[in-house]
Symmetry: C2
Subunit: 500 residues, 2 copies
C-alpha cells in the first residue's frame, strides 16, 4: 500500500459495537519507521467500524501495530510505503522565523483567512456554493466551527447533530454522531484540495443545544475524538475556542490548559494551536508553550507590533471587525476600512482575518453561513496576498520606534520593504528609503484600486532642525533619495532591493 | 473713567528709564472694590513708560493704589467705574461641569481651535490675511507662540526680536522688546474682537535665537512680564509650552511647576492654564491643581474618554495630526481623516484642535504662518461646531462601556444625544435609542457632506441571544424603536429629546 507524503494513511478494522464503544473501547497504534515510533490514536466510527489515521511525513516504509482493550482490534500489524508528496502537498503549516509561518516543506505560508463559522451546517447546495466562492476568493485559511451556531443571523437548525440523539430526542453527549464528523471531514478535505487551511474552532459559546454545557470530562473526550479523526488532515489548525472567555461560566479558567494538553496528547502531527478571546482585555496567555501562535480579535490594529512583541509569537488578528452593514458595530465597517486594517496589520508584522456581514433577506451572511461574497474588501485582500507572495520569503518585520509615533506602517523582508501610508497622503517621501543610492526599484501601490506603478527617484526633501540644539527628527539627513507621491490616502510604497 | 466689564482698564505712568528698569523697578497696584482687593502686577513698556492693566469682572466703582520702589510710581491712586459688559463680551473662559468650558457670564464655550504657531511673526500683510481667514473659518481658538519658530517650513526671520539686541547684535535676555509685545498684544486684541480665544504658547523648543536656552530666572521673569502684559485680555489661555518634553535638556522637569506658579502669582484673572507634550508617553501630570485642563497631542482619538477619566479635567487634544501633504507623517493626513478624528474626539467628551500643512511653493503653511486655508476639513469642523452650539448646553458626556468595544462613538447632553458611526455603516440601528417611546426627533448627519436629514422611527431590529444561557449582548431587548440608515461611513445620528 502506498500513501504519498502528507496524505492520509487510514486503517479500518471491525470491532465491538455493543454498549458504548465511544467510552468502552480503547484503540491506538504505534507507527514506526526504523527506530522512530509515533503514537497514533484511533477512533470509533459507528456500526462496529474503527479507524486510525496517520499523515506520514517521511518517505519510506512504515509499520503499524495496534493495541486495544478489544481483542478484535489488538495486536494487528501491517505496513505501508510513503511515496513522494504530490505537487500541491506542502505539508502542515508550522511556525518559522519566530513570527511567521511556512509549510513543512519550507514553502512560505502567509495567512489571508476568512470566517464562515457555521458553513458546514448549512444546506448542501449552499456548502457547494461556499466552496466555489472560496476557490475564486484568494483566501488561504478559513475559521469554521465543529458545533452548530446559535447567534443573530444564524438561527437555523444544523444539517447534523454533532452528538447522537437518545430515545427521548435529547442529545447524548457521550455518543458522537459519526455522520456529522464524516461530513465535517469531507469539507475539511475539500478545503485541502483548494489549498485552504481549516482553522477549526473546537468550542464556542453560541449554543442552544447544550454543546457549551458539556462536562469537563465530556469536553476532553470530545477534543480527543476530534483530534483522532482530523489530525491526519494536513490543512488543520486547532482553534481551541472562539471567544473562550464567554464560556467561562461553564468552563472555568483552570480547565483550558488541560484542553490544550488533550490536543497535544492526541495529535501526533503537532498542528498549530491557539485560542481566541472575546473581550479585548481577556486575551489568553499566549506565551504558554502549548500555544503556537497568538489569535486575538482587536480593532486597534496599529498596536499589532506591540502585541507581537508582547507574546513573541506569530500574531493572527482574527476579527478586526467585519465589512458589512448589520447593526452590530463589529459587523458594519466599510470595505475600505477593513482593507486599511489588513494593510496596517500586515505591515506591522502580523496577519489578519476577513469576515463579511451584509444584511440579507434570508439571513445568508458569509461570516455565518458562507455562500456568496457581496463586498469589496475580499478582492483587495487577495491583491495584498499576491503582493506579499511575490516578494516576501520569510515574513515582514515591522519598522517601529519613531514610525510608531507617526502612525505610518512599514515592514521589511530580506529584499523588499513596504511603507503603507494609510490615512496619510504625503506629496514627497524619503523616510525609510535607502541611506545610500543603489539599484532599487520603487513602486507605488494603490491598495484600493489595486494598481502598481513605477516611481522615479527624486532628491530627498531638505531637512531642517526641529528642536533647539539642531536636532533633526524624523528623517536621517543622508537619505539618498526620495519619491514624489500623489496626495491621496491608502497608498503604499514598495522598495525592491535589486542589488546582488 | 468708565471701563466696561471684561474690557481692559489701563494705567500709564512715567517712571525711571535708566539702568535696566525691567530688572530694577518694581511696579504693582492693589485694585479694590469695597472690601475686595486684587493684586495686579504692572510692567515696563520702554521709554520710561510703565503700565498696569486690569480686566474688571464686577460692575461698580473700583479704586487703585500703586506701589513701587521708584517714587514716581509709588502711592498713586485713582478710580474707574466698571460699566455693563458689551454685548459680545462674555468674559474669560473657565472650566465648568468638570469636563467642559464656559465664559464667565455662563455662555457655553466649546473649543474648536486651530493652530498658526508663528503667525504674528510673519509680514504684516500676511497677518491681515490670517485674520481675514480666521473670521470666516468658524474657529474660536488659536494656538500661537510668543517666540518666533525655527522649524521645517518656518525658517524666515521674525518681524520683531522678542528681546532687545545689545550693542554687539546679540540678544539681551534681560531686556524684553516692548515693540514685539505691543505687536503681539495688538493681534491678541484682534482675535478678541473676532471672538477667538488666544491659546498663547509661552515656551517651545523650535528655536535658533536662544529663547529656549534662557536661564530659569530669565524664564520666570519672562513669564511674569508676559502675564502682567496680557492677563487683562479676556480671550487669553496660557499654554505653558508646546512639546515641553523636547525642552527638558535645558529646562529640567523640576522647573515646570515653578513656571506654573509664576503665572498663578501674576495673573489676577486666573486664565486657563495647561501644557502640551511632544512624545505621547510624556503627558504632563495634568492632575496637578495648577493645571486647569488637559492639553495633549495623540492620534489615538478613540481613547479620548479614557484620558478624560484619567485626569478628571476637560480634555483638549491639540494635535491629532494635521490635514495636509508634507512628508512628515504628523502633517499629511487626509481631510476626511481629520474630520473623523474631530467627531470621534468630541463624541467621546473631548475637544480637538485643527491644523493644515499643505506644501506651498513659498512655504506658507497655515499651521506655521497662517495666511490662507487650502483644505477641506475646516468647513466640516465649523459644521460640527454649529451642530454642537445648536443643542448642547453643558457639554457632551461620552457613552462608554460596551460602546468602547464596538468603537462607535457617542455622547449626550441634557436634551440631545449623538451617535457617530465613523468607519461603521449599519443599515439599521437601535442601540442607544430611548427605551420608551416618546417625542424624539431623529436626524441623520452626514459629517462630510454637511447635511442634516430627518429620519423616521422603524421597529427596532429583532435580537437573539449571543451566548449560551440566553445572554443578549449589545442591545437592550426593550429598545423602543430603531432607525434605518444608508450603508455608508462617516454618518452620525442625532436624537433630540422633545419631551417637556
Amino acid at each position: 500500500m502506498n500513501v504519498s507524503k502528507w496524505d492520509i494513511f487510514e486503517l479500518e478494522l471491525d470491532g465491538p459495537d455493543s454498549g458504548n464503544p465511544f467510552l468502552d473501547v480503547t484503540f491506538a497504534a504505534t507507527l514506526s519507521k526504523g527506530n522512530r515510533t509515533v503514537e497514533v490514536p484511533g477512533f470509533y466510527d459507528g456500526n462496529g467500524t474503527y479507524r486510525l489515521r496517520y499523515m506520514p511525513d517521511d518517505e519510506g516504509e512504515w509499520h503499524w501495530l495496534t493495541r486495544s482493550n478489544a481483542a478484535a482490534l489488538d495486536g494487528k500489524t501491517g505496513t505501508f510505503t510513503c511515496t513522494p508528496a504530490k505537487p500541491d502537498a506542502h505539508g502542515p503549516v508550522q511556525v518559522v522565523h519566530k513570527y511567521h509561518f511556512a509549510h513543512a516543506d519550507g514553502t512560505p505560508y502567509f495567512p489571508f483567512g476568512t470566517t464562515c463559522y457555521a458553513w458546514t451546517h448549512q444546506p448542501l447546495e449552499m456548502q457547494a456554493e461556499t466552496l466555489e466562492t472560496l476557490e475564486k476568493s484568494g483566501f488561504n485559511k478559513i475559521r469554521m466551527c465543529v458545533f452548530p451556531k446559535d447567534y443573530p443571523y444564524n438561527v437555523n437548525e444544523p444539517l447534523h447533530d454533532v452528538y447522537q440523539r437518545d430515545a427521548d430526542g435529547g442529545i447524548d453527549f457521550d455518543r458522537p454522531n459519526p455522520d456529522a464528523f464524516r461530513h465535517f471531514e469531507k469539507q475539511v478535505r475539500a478545503l485541502m484540495d483548494l489549498g485552504i487551511e481549516a482553522d477549526i474552532i473546537i468550542l464556542h459559546p453560541y449554543d442552544r443545544w447544550g454543546y457549551a454545557d458539556m462536562t469537563a470530562d465530556q469536553d476532553c473526550r470530545y477534543i480527543a475524538y476530534l483530534t483522532a479523526r482530523l489530525a491526519a488532515f494536513r490543512n488543520v489548525w486547532w482553534s481551541l475556542a472562539n471567544e473562550y472567555d464567554f464560556l467561562l461560566n461553564t468552563k472555568p479558567m483552570h480547565q483550558w490548559d488541560r484542553y490544550f494538553h488533550v490536543i497535544e496528547e492526541n495529535d501526533p502531527h503537532r498542528h498549530l494551536k491557539s485560542i481566541h478571546n472575546g473581550d479585548r482585555t481577556m486575551n489568553f496567555d499566549h506565551r504558554k508553550p502549548w500555544v503556537d501562535h497568538v489569535c486575538i480579535q482587536n480593532a486597534e490594529v496599529k498596536r499589532t507590533n506591540e502585541w507581537r512583541d508582547q507574546y513573541g509569537k506569530p500574531l493572527v488578528n482574527d476579527e478586526l471587525q467585519y465589512e458589512g452593514n448589520v447593526w452590530q458595530a463589529w459587523g458594519c465597517i466599510s470595505a475600505q476600512e477593513l482593507v486599511h486594517r489588513f494593510w496596517t496589520t500586515v505591515m506591522r508584522g502580523g496577519y489578519a482575518g476577513h469576515g463579511e456581514t451584509y444584511t440579507h433577506p434570508e439571513d445568508l451572511l458569509w461570516w455565518a453561513k458562507g455562500g456568496k461574497l457581496y463586498g469589496e474588501s475580499w478582492k483587495r485582500i487577495a491583491f495584498l496576498r499576491s503582493l506579499i507572495e511575490e516578494d516576501v520569503t520569510k515574513g515582514l518585520t515591522p519598522l517601529t520606534n519613531e514610525w510608531m509615533w507617526d502612525r505610518v506602517s512599514a515592514g521589511e523582508d530580506e529584499k523588499v520593504r513596504y511603507i503603507y501610508f494609510g490615512e496619510h497622503q504625503p506629496s514627497i517621501w524619503a523616510k525609510g528609503l535607502p541611506l545610500e543610492d543603489g539599484d532599487y526599484q520603487l513602486d507605488l501601490i494603490d491598495t484600493w484600486n489595486m494598481t502598481v506603478e513605477r516611481l522615479e527617484k527624486v532628491p530627498a526633501p531638505k531637512v531642517h532642525p526641529t528642536r533647539h540644539g539642531k536636532v533633526v527628527r524624523g528623517l536621517k539627513p543622508d537619505a539618498a533619495f526620495g519619491v514624489e507621491l500623489p496626495s491621496r490616502p491608502y497608498l503604499a510604497l514598495r522598495i525592491r532591493d535589486l542589488r546582488g
